[in-house]
């Protein structure tokens, strides 16, 4: 804008006679009818997608309003879920959702960072593309398959570890297990089944590839000049990674973690298959019984009355808002990290 203005001025001065009839040129070209139609159609497509996405939130709110206006603020603090008796809230399921997601993140993030570093820095270049598509494949494995694996295989094999943690770290409130007798070797192991811990491991496997692909993308964008600079100063490979790749990819690591968290919060079937639902705040992650918003919806939608459906919509709305906030934060962190600026250099 500014530049074009200046150049026209300088052109104007010398031919003083012609300047009188010279009017500022219109820089806006007329694209013609077909192009105007094309732009309108493209805008329409974008607007349609936007409308659908906004409708998701709008309609959930509209349907949930009946339940929300009746429950009021107690919707956030009540633990029970008896909508037809008027006693319902998401305190328990929300706690369960967050706990499952946190357990998942604890397992998924080291796995994702290690895999991303392996693919970017250590793997032979010829294998790299194959490894990347394998990780993508892992993200597309249906969640019901992970759920099956967790239910029929993992559950049985993780019990010993859960019992061991409960015995030696049971003094820590999160790892406490009520009703288990650690000194009795013949005690049944069912207290340790269907727990937040098992569900968290299953969700971790679904979340890790997503976090991994974000991190891998950011790591691979670390500037070559700085990498070689580190090597030239005598750094080992790990020294280079620690001083160049990891600081560069910090935004991507945080963003990838939060994207994984967003996915873990909304996971339904894998969690539903494993946990046995309880409607009370259950902070003991190793103990039988847990709950999550999405599995609550999957569990209760079939038998819900009209008001019960409205209450479920309210729970869905809460889940939707939570994932939306986490996702927005994640994408803004990824976008603001230095990785976006690397394309200039």
């Amino acid at each position: 804008m500014n530049v074009s203005h200046v150049t026209t001025r300088t052109h104007d001065r010398p031919p003083a006679a012609a300047a009188a009839e010279d009017v500022p040129r219109r820089l806006h070209a007329d694209p013609g009818l077909p192009d105007r139609v094309f732009r309108a159609v493209a805008r329409g497509g974008g607007g349609f997608v936007l409308a659908v996405m906004l409708l998701v939130g709008g309609f959930l709110l509209y349907r949930a309003w009946q339940a929300l206006s009746k429950a009021g603020f107690s919707f956030l603090t009540t633990e029970a879920w008896e909508p037809d008796a008027g006693n319902f809230g998401i305190a328990a399921v929300l706690t369960g959702t967050v706990l499952i997601a946190l357990v998942a993140i604890c397992f998924a993030v080291p796995l994702a960072i290690g895999t991303a570093l392996y693919i970017c820095e250590y793997s032979p270049p010829r294998l790299r593309q194959t490894l990347i598509s394998l990780v993508d494949l892992m993200a597309a494995v249906p969640s019901v398959v992970y759920g099956l694996w967790g239910l029929f295989f993992l559950q049985g094999h993780v019990l010993g570890t859960a019992r061991w943690i409960a015995r030696y770290f049971g003094w820590f409130p999160l790892f406490k297990v009520d009703g288990a007798d650690p000194s009795d070797p013949l005690a049944t192991a069912t207290v340790y089944t269907s727990s937040t811990f098992v569900a968290g491991i299953v969700v971790a496997l679904m979340v890790a590839p997503i976090a991994c692909s974000v991190m891998r993308e950011v790591f691979s964008q670390a500037p070559v000049g700085e990498r070689e600079g580190a090597y030239a100063l005598g750094a080992t490979r790990w020294g280079m990674i620690r001083s160049v790749v990891l600081p560069f990819g910090k935004g991507g690591m945080i963003g990838g973690t939060m994207l994984g968290l967003g996915r873990a919060l909304g996971e339904t079937i894998g969690v539903y298959l494993i946990i046995s639902p309880v409607f009370a705040v259950q902070p003991h992650i190793l103990q039988n019984g847990s709950s999550s918003v999405s599995s609550l919806i999957a569990l209760r939608y079939g038998e819900a009355s009209e008001f019960g459906m409205s209450a479920l919509m309210a729970a869905g709305l809460a889940l939707f808002l939570m994932t939306l906030v986490v996702n927005f934060a994640a994408s803004s962190i990824v976008a603001r990290s230095r990785s976006g600026a690397a394309s200039d250099s």
Binding site: F38, G45, G46, L50, L55, G266, T268, I269, V326
Partner: protein, 427 residues
Amino acid sequence: MTLVAPPRGDNAMSAQNSPRTTLPSKSTSPDAGSPREPRRRLALLRATDVYAVLGAAAASLSITALLFTRLLPFSGGLGFTLVAYGLFLGLYALLVSFDEDGPAVRDRVAAVLAQSLGLLMLAALAFVVVYTLWEGRKALPHLNFYTQDMASAGPLDPLAAGGILHAITGTLEQIGIALVVTVPTGLLCAVFLNEVPGRFARFVRTIVEAMTALPSIVAGLFIYATAILTLGLDRSGLAAALALSVMMLPIIIRAADVVIRLVPGPLREAAYALGTSRWRTVWHVVLPTARSGLTTSVILGTARGIGETSPVLLTAGFTAVTNTDPLSGPQVSLPLATFEFIKSPEPTMIARGFGTAAVLMALVLLLFVAARVIGGRGPGRLTRRQEHRRVLASRRDAARFAARFAARAEEQLDSGSRASAPTRSAS
């Protein structure tokens, strides 16, 4: 070490000896250095590294075995693996520290950690896939598994009766409808994001990016609230397809957006420079260039959509009968059938569930292989067949031009002009 030291010594000596540093050192150093200098080994792997890994592995395994069988009251495979791995790391660091200094030891340990984490992830993937296929081995060999539905087969019937035909048809119809909805909309939106940039496009992109992690059950709930409760639609295949579309749309848009952004700018600018309008540029330059990437993004979106259970759970209903009409009546899909099968305590039903999951997994694998075959190339790169076709087309163009030149020359000859020589040479 030995390689770095001699030149430094030479330089220092020559600097002390005389002010004319360069010539003497140049003339002497090759004579003195070259015969004695050993040939460098360029291989990165040294024998001591391999010995360190093997020794640490052997030592950690034997110590752990000793601990688990003799000294400590531990048992269990998982604990054994964890203890052995921890010991391996420690012993490996110890062995390396005999030869190397601190930073090198940390480098080695970090390399081992990263590689084993990557290996663990791949092993987990392979294990989940193989476990599903292996558990499905009881149901998969029965041919009736693919040709019958569960209408006449109860939970107690053996695997020789009943099958998942209803789920296969349901999945194919639902994903087909979802693709009809999402492919045009998604590609149009991706084109919009790239070709009509502005504040509105940026806003749409932000919303779409936030929506890629839309919980799938919320997509189902949304369609349940709109199509079923408000518009009065049945629980049907169409409703399920709509729920899948809501879920797949942001995924496809995001992937297609990235691919279209990779189309080289000069191609687009060349098209504009030739006076092409925007939509013709999109239609004839941008989309064909990005074709393989766009196909990949659609296939990957399909692979995600085909395995989703929760949107279908709320909107499709459940039936054991084959229902080919997506517009009315409940219709079941593969993930939903898996889910319903394994909720039963009967071993045959669980075997059917694993068989269904194996079929689903095979479908996803197939889609992935297809995506890999089609999308292995960047934008603008051609396969050999495409290249061949381009060559043929350009030959056809050349022939057409030649014919036109010849026709024009004849015309000019007929009208008595004398410009036949240059045109003949041109043709």
